[in-house]
Amino acid sequence: MTIGYLILAFLLSAGLFLNRNRKAAYFLTGLFLLLQLVFTVYAGMHLRSTDSLYFTFDALGFLLLATLGVVAVPAAFHSALYIERHEETPASRGIYLGSLVLLITAIGAGYLANHIAVVWIFTEITTLSASALIYHHRNKLALEGTWKYVFICALSISFVFIGILFLSLSLRHAGSTELSWANLLAGSSQLNPFWLKLAWLFIFTGFTVKLGLVPMFTAGIDAKDTAPGPAGALLASVLMNLGFVGVFRLYTVVAHTSIHGWVNVVTGSAAFLSVFVAAAYMIRVRNVKRMFAYSGVEHMGLVMLGVVAGGVGYYAAILHIILHAFVKSSLFFQYNQLYRVFQSKSLSYMGGYFRLHPTGAMVLLLGFLSAAAMPPSGLFVSELMIFRSLLEARLLLPLVAVALLLTMILWAFGRNVFRILFLPPAGFEAPPAKPAPAWESYSQFFLLALAVALGFFPPEGFVELIRESVALLPVTPPEVLIPLPASGALMP
């Protein structure tokens, strides 16, 4: 079934590339969304089974696939709006929609892949399709963004490949050459620690370009800035989740080995630095899109801190990336309407948005509250759990430092958003009010409401699936950064 899905999706993508007819383009895109829906339902009905040899519909893969499906529909819808408004040529429309379909397919397949090399291949395909989306405007800035993204992604992909080679050396000590996740997990006790450490360093560094952590996060920021809004929404949400899947599945393996503590130190440092870097950039950023992108860096840093802390942090991390995908994509979907009012990306030329476009302003306000993890937001729940896991892992120093950094981010983010919403335009002429129709914001309201609902009133099945995603991880954390006093069970 998965192979069939991939072939059909690639055919649709190729069809979109070649097609020059406007109606046919939207028809094919709609057909792809239908295919995506059917495939997601099929995956849900065949949970825990392996399909087409290299794909397994496990709990984590299915949860993220469903998230992808939910984000893909408004992404296609806003892409269509974007294309209609920009008087695209048939060729650039074809390239855009074809790449969009290819990107969504590759991300979904990457979630489900049960072999590290297959994840790696689909990550490569996302680089290819994302670069076509980033280069959409074909101007100097787009070229610069594309070049940086392609170059850093190419380096990162080589890093992941080196990591896979080291992993294969490590696995050889377990008397096996099969690099599937299940086999790695089964042989985890015999993996050679030296090679495994090198493998983790390279694979983690390589995937940070997609995940958006220190050290490789910069390319992603430029990419989200230069790509059209709806494509940026995918890069800032579901593509980051693909990076998370790569890191998390390997983490599940190393968590059963003797290097677990060492991995926690390395990963925790990178995660903490990411929150720090995000705070530093958030304070001085003037470009709205980049501000949203840096907020993503902060969230992924928190997620990895949750993973490192262990215990309830594992659960919180999965919940957080799902809710973050809904919230962040809705902010990016709203961005284009914001841009149409002010004709600028810069905060210096924005103000009084509430008066000019109340519906859009509501999205921005609610999106900000959600992204900042204020109480009505679903992210509040997961962030609270991450803090609890840090507390339970006795990581007090990082906890306090992260709390301080989050306060700074909240202040900077809030200052900028409230400036856009409420301050009267200063130093530039107020644009004439020509707001987008309110129905263009409905999908954003839906996504934000979904994030709240899943955070506060999660359905039984959803909770079960998240529990199952983290079930393979060890319950008791290793001796982490600060030696633990002998304490009892750390799980709630």
Binding site: A117, L128, L143, F151, S158, L165, L169, T177, V285
Partner: protein, 210 residues
């Protein structure tokens, strides 16, 4: 025999560190491709016809002929100045590359592993870090591309070290190399050279936070 070739490969890295002209880099890259072919030919004991053709295609045709020819064409077409314009003097570069090789040698002492030939490990990691060093200290975008090619050569050496047990990984590495190089060079050919006339990383700083 493979050892001699690998050590020759290491020496080319030192030569790259002090090379001044861009054409020298191109020639060294071509030489590295030939060396890699012979290393692969000797190292992979059970080589079948398909693998041999693929490796021949990758090393000789792609690494030694196509990419260097293409880079030389780009240099001519965009009239890029012949100097490499490093940020650091060549002598410092030589010291740093030496340091990289020495450190990887020391690191390889920690390996108590009979599976892996240590020399492969040393050459692969040295090549990787030299490539990254070249990317970090050269001013032109085209030297970034060349640095990336050096990184790829390091990856190829490492994949040969495990190639006997897992031939699939060698093929994957070749796929990565061709895919990424074509993507990078494609952008270079199509656009960067046209849009940014004097291709210098200083010009790629328009994406800002404010």
């Amino acid at each position: 025999m493979a050892d001699v070739l690998l050590i020759t490969f290491l020496i080319t890295l030192f030569y790259m560190a002090i090379a001044n002209r861009l054409m020298t880099y191109v020639k060294v890259l071509a030489l590295q491709g030939v060396l890699l072919f012979f290393v692969a030919f000797i190292q992979l004991s059970e080589i079948n016809l398909l693998n041999l053709v693929l490796i021949l295609l990758e090393t000789i045709i792609f690494k030694s002929v196509a990419v260097p020819a293409f880079l030389a064409y780009l240099l001519r077409r965009n009239q890029i100045t012949r100097e490499a314009e490093p940020f650091l003097p060549n002598f410092v570069s030589l010291l740093i590359v030496t340091a990289i090789v020495v450190v990887t040698f020391l690191l390889s002492n920690y390996i108590s592993d009979t599976i892996l030939d240590k020399l492969f490990f040393v050459v692969a990691l040295s090549t990787l870090f030299t490539g990254l060093y070249l990317i970090a200290t050269r001013r032109k975008i085209i030297t970034h591309v060349m640095g990336y090619m050096v990184v790829e050569n390091g990856v190829f050496v490492l994949s040969l070290a495990v190639g006997n047990e897992m031939p699939m990984l060698v093929n994957l590495g070749i796929m990565l190399d061709i895919f990424a190089s074509v993507l990078i060079l494609g952008i270079f050919l199509n656009k960067i050279g046209d849009v940014f006339r004097d291709v210098d990383v200083d010009q790629l700083s328009n994406l800002k936070d404010y």
